[in-house]
């Protein structure tokens, strides 16, 4: 591979790493770079993952967005059966967040102190409450900044570690937040009280930049490694098979 690896490709690889060890789970990444990352995980190292076509099918194809030679259909997965998958815990979802706090509480619903008259109405709760207490959840934040990484979210749509603990055993039993992948870094919750910890910085990003872009105190270990780059084989998969039209670069321009 002669071309330099782009930031988008680093993020794709970091997303793929979220699924490592998941086995026969539905990898359900929402968004362009997450969709590519889920495909990469399966093609590269987590071969038993299942993936969707973005609508009502589970398909075995490596291509993420277009299937010129047809879809290899594994299952008819209507919206209704998706809830069977989620509530049985057979899924790892990657969601976005308009706001997220240090324990991984996510807000997709609205911005502002008065819920009955918000400053900005956003998506709503979508499936976030049910997702987070039933299946594995990671987040993709393509615009890492202090308005997204906040001290306190205005509305808790996706449940964070502290909120799950406060809600009791029915909430924590199947609860697991895995990673947060951003355009700058990878974050996990591997601290004694599940506060966010800087796991790696992407090549070309400094720890100080990440700290400045985060609106709360991030746990920063003494040595922060660089996020890994894709192997030559992985890069070929990303560029030639999974995302040949380079939609990843549109979502996150270099």
């Amino acid at each position: 591979m002669s071309d330099a690896v782009t930031r988008a490709e680093i993020c794709v690889t970091a997303i793929a790493e979220c699924f490592r060890g998941d086995g026969e789970l539905l990898a359900n990444p929402i968004g362009t770079i997450p969709m590519i990352g889920g495909r990469l995980a399966r093609a590269s190292f987590e071969h038993d993952l299942l993936t969707t076509d973005g609508e009502a099918l589970l398909i075995a194809n490596d291509e993420a967005f277009a299937w010129p030679n047809g879809k290899v259909v594994e299952y008819y997965n209507s919206y209704r059966s998706m809830f069977d998958v989620v509530w049985a815990g057979r899924r790892h979802v990657i969601m976005g967040a308009s706001q997220i706090d240090r324990y991984g509480n996510q807000n997709l619903a609205s911005i502002g102190p008065d819920y009955s008259k918000p400053k900005a109405q956003l998506l709503g709760f979508r499936g976030a409450p049910g997702n987070t207490v039933n299946n594995k959840t990671s987040y993709w934040i393509p615009n890492h900044g202090p308005r997204v990484f906040v001290e306190k979210v205005d509305v808790v749509t996706g449940v964070g570690w502290d909120s799950a603990a406060a809600a009791g055993p029915a909430a924590t039993k199947y609860f697991e937040l895995r990673h947060v992948v951003t355009n700058l870094c990878v974050i996990d919750y591997e601290t004694d009280d599940h506060r966010m910890r800087l796991r790696s910085v992407h090549p070309g990003v400094t720890v100080d930049e990440v700290v400045a872009a985060t609106g709360f105190e991030l746990v920063v270990p003494e040595n922060v490694p660089e996020s890994r780059t894709p192997s030559d084989d992985e890069l070929k998969l990303i560029r030639e098979v999974i995302d040949p039209k380079a939609l990843r670069e549109k979502e996150l321009p270099s």
Binding site: A56, S78, Y79, A120, G127, A166, A167, A171
Partner: protein
Amino acid sequence: MNDKRLSEDEVVAQLGDGMTIGIGGWGSRRKPMSIIRAILRSDLKDLTLVAYGGADVGLLCAAGKVKRVMYAFVSLDTIALDPHFRVARQNGAIEDEPYDEGLFLLGLQAAAWRVPFLPTRVGLGSDLLRLNTRLRMVTSPYDDGEEYVAAPALELDAALCHLSRADQRGNASFLNADLYFDDLMLRAAKGNRFISAEKVVPTEKLLEEAGTELRIRINRSMVDGVVERAGAAHFTECPPDYARDEAFQREYAGSAQSPDAWTAFRSEWLDLSEEDYQGKVAAR
């Protein structure tokens, strides 16, 4: 044999102020838009909407028909947020009763099965329990003794859905990728269960039109009335008959930019009969 065919305006004549109305489809997909347009032409008001929301919710909010919205999202798919719904929310013009997509499914299922609630983990630890005052908790009567959310039965006064093919008695099929929750919407309603369909065919032709019995998912005991209307779901999608009219949808979204823009859109596209609407769309 009961012929349940009627017009959109005859559907609306059976609805009343303050009703709780479930609307089928999902986002900007297979929505019963011709019946929604008939509601917009009527003097119905103070409606509570229950929907996997799209332009149905946005239009009714823009026209001032809505008191309360029970929803998990209001999206136009290719446009992430319905701008009319956003305006209504940000003006504090409507009451907001938030749900998780799956909690909604359970609430409709509970109503359809005539039980007061179904237990679930969905909602635990989230602000749904703070912001949706209808929600209550239930303690498991079994050995675990744990606390769950009791998804309340969402009983509807009326349900409106758009299907692909129907017969005159109310049996119907969907030909696109997903039934969504249309069957549950119809089953959760006490009465006033209306469907529109692209085409009404003889019962003998239902299977042939559907291609497989697996697509015939609405039966006549779930339906009180059938509107035959080609293009009823416009501008939302209804494959394989038609895709979403993205250009029209952008125009609709743009009409949220100012009261003047809405007035202009309304007079051009909504203050007219369904026949005239369909004729104008065809002539675009």
